[in-house]
């Protein structure tokens, strides 16, 4: 079906690195007619890590996942999944995938859907029963095994989809907005399942626009906007290791305020000043400088930036 790219840009060393990764993309691009869905996506997902792929709606997240599982063909660039170019049939045996907008055959029972996917995944027939029972148990659908899928709610379909993605102990599971239709209990269950997958050495590629979800389960993440990665790293790297400090200050002359910008990215809200990218070691120096400038310091609050703050800031920086 989807042929691996023959336009290999990686040198042998890079290719060897790509082989050791769960996912590696190099300048991956996808255009639908004149619409650019993904432009120059370069990222790596390590084995046995939970990787968050975060971005606003329309950023190209689903396009990226579709390229990785072979549902669409890249316009340019290349991608490797579990050490082989995307589209490799044998590699797909080691993949689990939960699409964002999907449906199973409504006329089938939940256990039959799982049985079909066991067959398509090439699992030995002797293992099907245990695989189906295990998947149903994990996603909390054991009681509904013999019910037709057409009677399932959206949330139950999503649970079933997650069960399908877990069949055969895949080495990489790609989840595209896995909790979009789930209630809080379902979301909690999904987080637990992701943690279990990580514990057993499965890499998880979590595509989401839900910041709290990504914040809670991901080891590393990439923030994507308009088809490009705008930031990537561990949570602390993304949030900024230096953090931020918020101070309540009065009596500071305008010239003094201007000179304080040397300490970091300053947000001036009148009495409240927020310094981003400031090392904690420099906080006493900052306070001293404010006092020297004639200011009076009433409060100094280290501020832990949330992913939401950082995410919005990154998007804002892109717009500038």
């Amino acid at each position: 079906m989807q042929q691996p790219s023959t336009d290999r840009k990686l040198n042998p060393i890079e290719a060897a690195d790509a082989a050791s990764l769960a996912v590696h993309t190099q300048d991956l691009a996808k255009r639908y007619g004149k619409t650019v869905a993904l432009s120059g996506l370069t990222m790596s997902v390590r084995r046995a890590e939970v990787f968050g792929f975060l971005g606003p709606n329309g950023a190209g997240k689903t396009t990226a996942v579709k390229l990785l599982v072979g549902l669409a063909r890249p316009t340019a660039g290349e991608a490797w999944v579990l050490g082989t170019p995307v589209g490799d049939l044998r590699t797909r045996r080691r993949l689990g995938y939960l699409p964002e907008l999907f449906r199973y055959q409504g006329w089938m029972k939940a256990s039959e859907v799982l049985g079909l996917h066991c067959e398509l995944a090439g699992l030995p027939r002797s293992a099907w029963k245990a695989e189906i029972a295990g998947a149903l148990e994990t996603v909390g659908l054991r009681e509904r095994a013999d019910d037709r899928v057409e009677g399932f709610s959206k949330g139950m379909q999503q649970r079933l989809g997650l069960g399908v993605a877990l069949l055969g102990r895949p080495e990489l599971v790609l989840l595209d907005e896995p909790t979009s239709a789930l209630d809080p209990v379902g979301r909690h269950d999904v987080r637990e399942i992701i943690r279990q997958l990580k514990d057993r050495g499965t890499a998880v590629f979590l595509n989401s626009h839900l910041l709290s979800e990504v914040e809670q389960v991901c080891d590393r993440l990439a923030v994507v906007d308009r088809g490009r990665v705008i930031a990537t790293g561990t949570m602390s790297q993304i949030l900024g290791q230096d953090g931020a400090v918020r101070l309540r200050v009065t009596g500071l002359p305008p010239a003094g305020r201007a000179s304080l910008r040397a300490f970091g990215n300053l947000e001036d809200e009148g009495e409240w000043l927020t310094f981003r990218g400031l090392s904690p070691d420099r906080v006493p120096e900052l306070v001293s400088e404010i006092v020297n400038q004639g200011g009076r310091v009433y409060a100094v609050e280290p501020r832990h930036e949330t992913l939401e703050d950082r995410f919005l800031q990154l998007l804002k920086e892109q717009d500038v």
């Binding site: 079906m1 639908y32 579709k66 599982v69 072979g70 549902l71 669409a72 063909r73 049939l89 044998r90 797909r92 045996r93 993949l95 995938y97 699409p99 907008l101 999907f102 449906r103 199973y104 055959q105 006329w107 089938m108 079909l116 996917h117 067959e119 398509l120 995944a121 090439g122 989809g161 399908v164």
Partner: protein, 281 residues
């Protein structure tokens, strides 16, 4: 072998969605009613057994025409959404990332639908023939060959609808396939008229339409095997006036044309696979 898995799934879906049951019940009703109608022929006053035989043979062709129409329309309606609705609904998104080639999905669906068409043609045809035989004592000269051509007509249209289904929405693909089916039928009539009046232009249009859409050609192949030899001889003796009849065939389909139909199915399948393999989902 994923082709067989998908074929089995296609047949199972038709069964679970009650398509087979609905078709079976309606077909039984039609067979019972037509058999009763046939049984009235010998009871008419002043009708000789030879006239009953001629009437039965002509009515058999009309009944076969009805069945071929049902099969053609049914094949289109089932095949046109087969790939397209899987893509629209998201079923394809769940299936295709598995270690399965798109060609296996497409060929599996083709095989499953072809089996359904062949089964329907065989079962409904055999039951109808039994009914006609019981009612009139008449049996066409080669019902097996006729039923094979009727089934092939359905398979040709199904293959075309499947190709359209790889790119077009179910309704659009279905409508286009049906329009082409009727264009082919009209093309067949044009060919008959062209032959009657020895008009080369009209003949060429008719031949062209039979090559592009071979459903009408196959229908005429079926007619030939439903015509008793004495009727055929009398009709041929009547000359070109009979040739304009769309329910008459004066010769079996030539081998090159049969080979072309086989090649046509192959070409359309290759195109369908090519089209589906290149579609971004």
């Amino acid at each position: 072998m994923h082709v067989l898995t998908i074929a089995r799934l296609t047949v199972l879906e038709a069964s679970r969605r009650k398509l087979l049951l609905a078709l079976a019940l309606l077909t039984l009703v039609v067979i019972v009613l037509t058999s009763w109608g046939f049984s009235r022929l010998p009871t008419m006053k002043g009708v000789t057994s030879a006239e009953v035989r001629v009437a039965a043979s002509q009515l058999t062709i009309l009944v076969a025409f009805m069945f071929s129409g049902v099969l053609a329309l049914g094949s289109t309606l089932v095949a046109a959404p087969s790939i397209a609705s899987d893509i629209e609904s998201g079923i394809a998104l769940a299936i295709l990332p598995r270690p399965i080639r798109r060609s296996e999905v497409l060929m599996g669906k083709w095989l499953g639908l072809a089996v359904l068409i062949a089964l329907y043609a065989a079962l409904s045809g055999v039951l109808e023939m039994i009914g006609i035989r019981w009612a009139t004592g008449y049996l066409p000269p080669n019902p097996t060959a006729a039923l094979s051509f009727v089934a092939a007509e359905g398979i040709v249209l199904m293959t075309l609808a499947l190709l359209l289904s790889t790119r077009l929405a179910p309704m659009t693909g279905g409508v286009i396939a049906l329009v082409l089916f009727f264009v082919g039928w009209i093309g067949g009539i044009a060919l008959a008229i062209g032959q009657t009046f020895a008009n080369d232009t009209i003949i060429n249009i008719g031949v062209g339409s039979r090559l592009l859409i071979p459903t009408d050609g196959l229908w005429h192949g079926a007619i030939f095997y439903l015509e008793p030899s004495d009727f055929l001889a009398a009709a041929q003796a009547a000359g070109r006036a009979r040739a304009g009849n769309p329910f008459f065939a004066d010769a079996a389909l030539p081998l090159p044309y049969l080979l072309w139909i086989a090649a046509w199915i192959l070409i359309v399948l290759v195109l369908a696979n090519w089209s589906f393999a290149r579609r971004d989902l």
